[in-house]
Amino acid sequence: MHGIDILSLLIWLPIGGGLALLALGDGNARLARWLALLVAFATFVLCLPLWQGFDTATASFQYVERLSWISQLHADYHLGVDGISLPLIQLTTFMTVPVIIAGWSVVEKRPAQYYAAFLILEGLMIGVFCALDALLFYFFWEAMLIPMFLIIGIWGGPRRVYATLKFFLYTFLGSVLMLVALIYLYLAAGDYTISGFQSLPLTLIEQRWIFLAFLVAFAVKVPMWPVHTWLPDAHVEAPTGGSVILAAIMLKMGGYGLLRFSLPITPDASRELDWLVIGLSLIAVVYIGFVALMQSDMKKLIAYSSVAHMGFVTLGAFLAFDIQASTGALAGAVNGLDGAMVQMISHGLISGALFLCIGVMYDRLHSREISAYGGVINVMPKFGAFMVLFALANSGLPGTSGFVGEFLVILAAFKANFWYAFLAATTLILGAAYTLWLVKRVIFGPVANDQVAAMKDLNGREFLVLAMLALAVLALGLWPAPLVQTMEATVQHLLQQLSLSKIPAV
Amino acid sequence: MITLGHMLTLSAVLFALSVAGIFINRRNVLLLLMCIELLLLSANFNFVAFSRYLGLVDGEVFVFFILTVAAAESAIGLAILVVLFRERRSINVEDLNTLRG
């Protein structure tokens, strides 16, 4: 694959498009929209050939590009994808398109800059997933915060300053610890290659500290309990598109980091401290489930539901050690890792779709309060159908993507410990309770008031966006095999990595 | 014969005097500036002494620079003092507490 550097193109095309939009200015909103859509769509289309040439039989990185970047620090511009990052990149390019369309007629304040921020964000996020050099990874990781910060801070709601500050400080705190860990690893390894880090022997004490530093960074991003409180605030204040990207992709960075850094770099510390991650994940599932039940703000409810669902990602990722402890073998651990990955993709689609749905309602009524709505389906039947579908998907209905990840993780959890599975499975009840109670109060029932009565059903643009996502959710739910097939080799390789001790023999 | 010890002791006394001056004259900015000059002089004494007793000219070069800096410092210090006095009609340090939140 030496014809075109497709990964670089994926990263820099949206960024270039974003810069072009910035240069274009806000004068011509119409042109800006179409240009943004064109770029987003082109990026999505560009991503498709990746699957064509992707070899699912190998766990090694593909489409690798490597140029010297900062030679004094031995940091390279080093890109590549494997079975874990490829689906996430595809998700990123896929979700950006509806986000652009969703802002079509709604964003009036500085439209070109709005789209530019999203396109630049897209490029940076793809960069995070592609980077094979830790410093490059860190560069993208931090740079990504800036457009998001601006999106919430400029186009956000009334308490946006508080929310952005909280968002920024939380994530920054984690990132700084990660940087310390990366520098330590760099000093030990001599360069910043991630695969070099993965094969680096480390003593248990070193691993513990590195693991904890990584854990803080990624736990904030996921977010895991108890560092999740930035998420509801950020979501509530963010514009619809911001919420979608935040929920659909940025949260995945945490899960991706755990799979890419924590587990392979510090397998022994992961083994030792897996109880911590599993405990926090289960708390997230149960505790947050109850908290979500009582939310009166729709976006907050979905935000909390995201925390609970991401609990499955972290749970699935760390089950391998307990499975080994309880059954003496690693059989079934792949289920957990596969489940974590599928859950990430699926949650990206579903939570993105739900935030878009809330955005559709917000555009009409300018309220996110559940009590302001009621009987929406009477006036918006098409919308109601979509909303019910996504709500059911969110509560893990088989046949939708929401089921696949949870199912796999619960299967694996049972192997690790009956009570893990028991607590994780409570999501069946809690997830259904908070999601469908929301549906009952908002969608069903008699028309609540005159404002609801005046709501117009979906227009073509909104219909297109939701239909796209609905198809993706159903397709993934009815036939997840291709997705799992893509990452199988990588996940097996990851399992092998984390099952081998890295403590140097004395 | 003037030994190194003589010069250093004299310098120490000057230094201590200037420090004491900063304590004693804590109200008057002008006197504080003078004490600083005295302080720099005591440092210069050391430079000169070591330079001569080690036979190295570099110490004296540094004295030269210190004199330069001291001159610049006193020029600006006095300028500030003048501005200050215009604004406040006072050079009492205790009146200068605007920055104390």
């Binding site: 108890p226 939310q295 799992v484 | -």
Partner: protein
């Protein structure tokens, strides 16, 4: 068997559902209805063909349609297992569904959601077929949840009614409690057998029995098979509405009546029974789990029957009857008489669907009046409905030669023959249940069709008998309700019909024991004269006649005399009260406490704002050092100097050592 034809069975209703659902507006009402009916009729015909092929000796079919997911060597797939058990279920499902489809044309005629309704019930048929045709646990769970969702959508079909959307949420959540257990059970099966395939799992059932699972404090641990079976049965309890997860079924009557007939009487609620029968190789390994099944089923059978006595809503009476009958089936499962359970499931599907549809006809005729106290004397005004309901009622109470008789009598005999822990209690419950069943069934028949007309002005004005598109299905269902037991009891129960699809250990085989006394369907009926249940049923009918028609005032008197009992029954044993005021309120309270107390007070308040506050506090202290006074800085500098010089002077080893 031709795989493509098998695939066509669920796909026909699915295609109809998709077209009617997405393009209903486009193709219009009639076309949607016809399409759905055609789809289901095709499925029904093919199912009958499959069943007859199996009866004529065709081998069972077990194959994969496609691989859903392959993870870590666990092959999760969608596939079909067509044996006599599933074929029987397919026929029952498609036949009842077909009747309901036809009936719906009349029942939903005036409703705006006509096409939507057809889409839903066709979708339901698809989901139910996927459930019964499955050859693995995963697809079973798929169908299981899918029928639950369609049920959710259909109970809330009239979504503007607050009671309907309350009922559908309740139904879904209660079912989810069951699914919670079910999913754990499936995970357990995978854990111990390494496969989700029925055949693999069932073949390994004895091996599972050797494992123990350490889940609670006991050092010995629990037998794994018992845990798995109880988990699976919790799923069945949710779907088949067993105590205490039964609370959703009476409320589900908020849905349109055809749905009550199809989903909440004939098919979906029996999915749990089907599932346990399907899992017979697993359940047979655990006596404890079966005793649990037995006791739960017996409790449901008797105590839910009582509730039918005090209810005046015609649909709810039938609903409680359904609960009670589901309890009967569960008892049969618990007594290892799986074939009897399925047999009762089948006969019940016909006569209960019939009763529901008849009730629906009455409701339509009465212009949406459901209160039996406002009915009476309808037998002359709607004769077809009357006679068909009478057939249904007689079948339900177990009149000899009617279908329900064979299944119920065999069931009671089987329980009688069982020696499992709890079988004594179960036998008492099912026998007493016969009286209760007869009493509430005929109370309903008498109140609705006999006696003086108590119609109010509104109903009288709008009264009109229903058309043949509704009567036709009644007749179509009445025929099997009357006859099917007579013709199938011999082969199905005692003729080894189910073959290897139901596996019973010899020690538990109560059906075989009952079968020793079986000498043909006719003599089975004649022998019933010697058994208690027949007389209890007769007593029940007579009591109903006495209290409803002859001396209604006595009923009122008893009601007043035993006020506490009446209140207990009217309040449905306070299950709903408990759920709403204790469980739901506690959940909401917990949610609020965790949110306000945990998230906002502790995490945001103490940790997040607290750390910010701590930084601010420290900064406030440190700031004081920055006093802005030159002499203070000078002082500290000098102090530092003094310390350094002091160190130089007094420290032991230093540069001074050399001179």
């Amino acid at each position: 068997m031709n795989p493509n034809l098998l695939l066509a069975i669920p796909m026909l209703p699915l295609a109809a559902a998709i077209i009617a659902g997405l393009g209903g507006r486009l193709i219009g009402r009639t076309a949607s209805a016809l399409l759905a009916i055609a789809g289901v009729a095709g499925a029904c015909l093919l199912s009958v063909q499959v069943l007859s092929a199996l009866l004529h000796g065709a081998a069972s079919y077990n194959a994969t349609v496609y691989t859903w997911l392959l993870s870590d060597g666990v092959n999760m797939q969608v596939g079909f297992l067509i044996d006599r058990l599933s074929a029987l279920m397919m026929v029952v499902v498609t036949f009842v569904s077909l009747c309901v489809h036809v009936y719906t044309i009349g029942y939903m005629h005036d409703d705006d959601g006509f096409q939507r309704f057809f889409a839903y019930i066709a979708l339901f048929t698809f989901a139910m077929l996927m459930l019964v045709m499955s050859n693995n646990f995963l697809q079973l769970f798929f169908g299981w949840e899918a029928v639950g969702v369609v049920s959710y959508l259909l109970i809330g079909f009239w979504y503007t009614r607050p009671s309907a959307i309350f009922a559908n949420l309740k139904a879904f959540l209660v079912n989810r409690v069951g699914d919670f257990g079910f999913l754990l059970g499936i995970a357990g099966v995978l854990y111990y057998t390494g496969s989700l395939d029925y055949q693999v799992a069932f073949d390994q059932a004895p091996q599972i029995a050797t494992h123990t699972l350490h889940i609670a404090g006991t050092a010995a641990g629990w037998p794994a098979i018992t845990v798995i079976c109880i988990c699976l049965f919790i799923g069945a309890m949710g779907k088949s509405a067993q105590v205490p997860l039964h609370v959703w079924l009476p409320d589900s009557m908020e849905g349109p009546t055809p749905i009550s007939a199809l989903i909440h009487a004939a098919t979906m609620v029996t999915a749990g029974i089907f599932m346990v029968a399907r899992m017979s190789p697993l359940f047979e390994q655990s006596d404890t789990a079966l005793s649990f099944v037995l006791v739960i089923g017996a409790t449901t059978a008797l105590f839910m029957g009582f509730l039918g006595i005090v209810n005046n809503d015609i649909k709810r009476v039938v609903a409680y009857s359904t609960l009670s009958q589901l309890g009967y089936m569960t008892v049969a499962l618990g007594a290892s008489a799986y074939s009897v359970a399925i047999f009762h499931l089948m006969t019940h599907a016909f006569f209960k669907a019939l009763l529901f549809l008849a009730a629906g006809a009455v409701i339509i005729a009465m212009h949406h009046e459901q209160d039996m106290r406002k009915m009476g004397g309808l037998r002359h005004r709607m004769p077809v409905t009357y006679w068909t309901s009478l057939i249904g009622a007689l079948a339900l109470i177990g009149t000899p030669f009617f279908s329900g008789f064979y299944s119920k009598d065999a069931l009671i005999e089987a329980v009688h023959a069982s020696h499992r822990w709890g079988s004594g209690y179960a036998y008492f419950c099912v026998t007493a249940g016969v009286f209760v069943t007869a009493f509430y069934t005929f109370r309903m028949i008498f109140m609705t069709f006999h006696g003086e007309s108590r119609l109010d002005h509104h109903a009288e004005e709008h009264f009109h008998d229903v058309g043949w598109n509704m009567k036709g299905p009644l007749v179509a269902l009445a025929i099997p309700s009357l006859l099917i037991g007579y013709f199938t009891v011999g082969p199905e129960l005692f003729g080894g019909y189910f073959g290897s699809s139901i596996r019973v250990l010899d020690a538990n085989d109560v059906v075989a024991e009952v079968g020793r006394d079986f000498h043909g369907a006719a003599s089975f009926a004649e022998h019933s004269v010697l058994h208690l249940p027949l007389w209890l049923a007769l007593l029940g009918v007579l009591s109903a006649w006495h209290f409803v028609l002859r001396r209604p005032q006595q009923a009122t008197a008893i009601q007043e005399r035993f006020g506490w009992l009446y209140r207990l029954l009217v309040n449905k044993y306070y299950f709903d009260w408990f759920n709403e005021n204790v469980l739901a309120r506690a959940s909401r309270g917990l949610g609020l406490a965790l949110w306000k107390g945990g998230d906002q007070a502790v995490i945001d308040g103490v940790i997040v704002d607290g750390s910010a506050g701590a930084v601010g506090w420290i900064a406030g202290r440190v700031r004081l050092i920055q006093s802005g006074f030159l002499y203070s800085y000078a002082f500290w500098m000098i102090v530092g100097l003094v310390l350094i010089l002091g160190w130089l002077l007094f420290a032991g080893a230093g540069p001074a050592a050399q001179s």
